[in-house]
């Protein structure tokens, strides 16, 4: 089945609150009581009642409790995991994983100073991120809470699956899909919390003490394990028993989706410096130098009822770092890098405090504009990055040149390359920055990974007000239940003064 549908909050929204399950037997008793009370009431028109008598058997057969179709309950999925419920729950995962991505674009983007959220009111960059950063600010909560919620939703789905009325290959397809999304969600936690670590055991009783914090290495281990388990499942599947969004049109079967799974793995592997693993994952992914550079998977947004619009479509709030104009390399005709020309636009200068910008992005100019999930261009750069780290300079230069020429319209690097490896790394990071800007906060993640955080040029005078942070703290609600032994992620992050 290869259908294309709108993403909706079919299942995920129902999980927003861990409410007590509606007591169905209690409701039935209440109805029974009401009926018997009505029967005891003095009947003024017995004749009318008598005429209604033949209807009684019909009433008796009627199920008077109706499920809440807008907010399907967890119990419905657990007690009656029919194919529709399973499909809805699986699609719900797609719906929710976008919310995590939204924080990546805006807030992780801001951490790496790709984007400056500047609003005269509210939690904008010059107002809050610049300071020593504690766990009680608004920023970065979605890339924690939404990711974990989605992981739990996937766990519920996986628990309900064995009893589902689906053939085994279909179950494997759902498992492979759900675990891939889980791995992707957990990867967000790993790249943002870094050395602070994070919990991985999700889906327990909400009244239990919060799960222990594991190290960054273990976090990545879980990400990779989930993606690899998903691989096994996807290989045992034939078709997806659910529809996917337009953004996944090229990955709508288990075989195709596996290539997206490998692409996510490739990204995770470079961030944990497992270079050979990254090369292998890229080879199994959808990377193809014969395809368009933007070929890949996307998170869809829309203005349709029940769906969400692209949250980064905010020309009133989001401004670009002017470093990109300064750094854009010249093409042979003297004009700047094509990526600068197509992704940025000049606007009247806007100033908030000491920060001023006259550059905005052209990437999300419609509420329907999709987010890039993973694209061909990134995978080619990942291959270059892994080859460079492994000392395969020629292979790295070949891929860098491919991107320089085809994406930036630039000349290839001088042949032979006479610079140092570190200069080549800077060239690679330049290309990653321009190719992937405003897509997932890549700049911050990459600069952190290479210990180059303080090389990020900030707007305005470098000062204590412009601190750069190397990890996101946890949200406050994560910290209070962990008292008194609060983990480092709950402590104020002083940041580094550029």
């Amino acid at each position: 089945m290869k259908t294309t549908i709108d993403t909706r909050a079919i299942f995920a929204e129902g999980q927003r609150r861990a409410r007590q399950s509606p007591d169905r037997s209690g409701r039935r008793q209440a109805i029974a009581r009401a009926l018997s009370a009505a029967a005891k009431a003095p009947a003024r028109t017995p004749a009318l009642l008598l005429t209604l008598l033949p209807l009684l058997p019909i009433l008796g057969a009627c199920e008077l409790t109706v499920p809440d179709y807008n907010n399907p309950s967890v119990e419905d999925l657990q007690t009656n995991p029919n194919s529709a419920a399973i499909a809805a729950a699986t699609q719900g995962l797609l719906f929710d994983t976008r919310l995590t991505a939204a924080d990546m674009v805006q807030w992780v983007g801001a951490f790496g100073r790709e984007v400056y959220p500047m609003a005269p009111t509210g939690s904008s960059l010059p107002g809050s991120v610049r300071d020593p950063w504690d766990q009680t600010l608004f920023v970065g909560t979605q890339v924690w809470a939404e990711a974990y919620r989605n992981i739990r939703n996937a766990n519920l789905l996986l628990e309900a699956l064995p009893a589902a009325e689906l053939p085994e290959p279909d179950k494997a397809a759902v498992r492979g899909f759900a675990k891939t999304v889980q791995g992707y969600d957990l990867l967000h936690i790993a790249v943002t919390r870094r050395h602070l670590g994070a919990p991985v055991a999700v889906g327990s009783d909400p009244n239990d003490p919060p799960a222990p914090i594991v190290s960054e290495t273990e976090l990545y281990g879980h990400v990779i394990a989930l993606l690899d388990e998903a691989r096994t499942d996807l290989m045992a599947a034939d078709a997806f028993p659910f529809g996917v969004t337009t953004g996944l049109a090229d990955f709508a079967s288990p075989g195709e989706f596996l290539r997206l799974n490998r692409a996510i793995k490739a990204r995770a592997e470079v961030h944990r410096s497992n270079w050979s693993g990254a090369l292998q994952a890229v080879a199994e992914s959808f990377m193809d130098t014969g395809m368009a550079l933007d070929y890949g998977a996307q998170h869809s947004w829309s203005v349709n009822s029940g769906d969400l619009v692209n949250p980064a479509n905010r020309p009133d709030l989001l401004w670009a770092n002017t470093r990109f104009r300064r750094e854009a390399q010249a093409r042979s005709d003297g004009s700047p890098d094509l990526r600068f020309q197509t992704k940025f636009k000049e606007v009247p200068a806007y100033q908030l405090l000491e920060v001023s910008s006259d550059l905005q992005y052209t990437l999300y100019e419609s509420p329907n504009a999709p987010f890039v999930w993973v694209k061909n261009e990134e995978l080619i750069l990942i291959r270059a990055e892994a080859n460079l780290a492994m000392g395969n300079r020629a292979a790295a230069i070949e891929d860098i040149n491919f991107i320089r020429v085809n994406s930036g319209g630039l000349e290839p690097l001088p042949d032979p390359w006479t610079g140092t490896d570190d200069e080549l790394l800077d060239e690679l990071l330049y290309n990653k920055r321009f190719s992937l800007v405003f897509e997932w906060g890549h700049t911050w993640i990459d600069m952190n990974h290479y210990g180059k955080l303080l090389e990020i040029p900030v707007l305005g005078p470098p000062s204590a007000d412009q601190r750069l942070h190397d990890a996101m703290p946890y949200p406050l609600s994560e910290c209070l239940p962990r008292e008194p032994d609060v983990p480092p992620g709950c402590m104020t992050q002083q940041g580094y003064i550029p």
């Binding site: 861990a18 409410r19 007590q20 009680t136 974990y148 919990p199 999700v202 009244n207 609600s477 209070l480």
Partner: protein, 276 residues
């Protein structure tokens, strides 16, 4: 005079959970909250004769609340986290305390704790009803003493350097830049006293002479003209728009947060009462 002492057991609580459980909040029964207070009123009639009738009424109220017992770890109730100030449910503490980052009174080290009491010490009301001949004057004066609100509206004005006192320099630094700078280490920077005296209501009414009423309309027994105004005068040191601020609407816990809410408006009323 009334003294009340109310203890609620098995309160219906809504607490936020560690998001890493995959859940965000839980509604449950538990805990014990105690509220006590005094409500008293004194009515005096200094004059009462055919020409002058004067009734004066004075009220005095205060209330205090405390979480006696809480079966779960402490949790925030309303607000924007410690950085911007919040209320917290913790056993042994008042529910209306405002929490935030602040220097430890003993060590000076910056940490999290309760910084100020949001609830007022007491409130008093003075109302007078004076009737002279056909005129009637009624007024109510409200006095609130103590209590703090978190004036984040001023924080936002400071952030964009639009506060009135931004040109005032202390040691070469604008006072609003200074407040902004101190804020991350002291949420209390924008806690402000919400004591006030308000002329809550003033009403003047006049009863038309009966012969005049009958002359206009024989069916009417009496006709009264009323002119009244509400929230006419406010005397307060609070820098925001109104000391009776509540960003989240009318609630018992979580008042006193001021992030550019719409203030109460002054209103004027004119009415004609006709009796048949």
């Amino acid at each position: 005079m009334t003294y009340f002492n109310k203890t609620i057991r098995d309160v219906i609580l809504e607490r936020s959970l560690a998001p890493s459980t995959g859940f965000q909040e839980a509604i449950f029964n538990g805990g014990e909250i105690n509220t006590w207070g005094i409500e008293s009123a004194l009515t005096v009639v200094p004059f009462f004769n055919a020409n002058l009738q004067w009734t004066s009424r004075t009220t005095f109220t205060l209330d205090r609340s405390e979480v006696v017992e809480l079966p779960v770890p402490r949790f925030t109730i309303q607000g924007f986290g410690y950085f911007y100030g919040t209320t917290v449910a913790e056993a042994g503490r008042s529910l209306t305390l405002l929490w935030g980052n602040g220097p430890n009174p003993e060590t000076g080290e910056v940490g999290v704790g309760p910084l100020a009491e949001g609830n007022s010490d007491f409130r008093m009301g003075f109302s007078n009803d004076i009737r002279v001949g056909r005129f009637n004057v009624y007024s109510t004066l409200d006095w609130q003493s103590g209590g703090r609100a978190n004036n984040l509206t001023q924080f936002l004005f400071d952030l964009t350097r639009n506060t009135q006192d931004c040109n005032t320099l202390v040691g070469g630094e604008s006072v609003c830049v200074k407040r902004n700078r101190e804020f991350p280490n002291n949420t209390g920077t924008y806690f402000q006293d919400i004591s006030f005296v308000k002329l809550r209501e003033l009403t003047v009414s006049y009863d038309l002479p009966e012969e005049m009423v009958n002359g206009v309309w024989s069916g009417a027994r009496h006709l009264r003209l009323n002119m009244s105004g509400r929230d006419l005068l406010t005397f307060t040191d609070y820098a925001g728009l109104d000391p009776e601020v509540s960003n989240f609407g009318s609630e018992a816990v979580g008042r006193g947060v001021d992030v550019a809410p719409f203030p109460p408006s002054r209103s004027f009323w004119f009415s004609i009462d006709v009796g048949f």
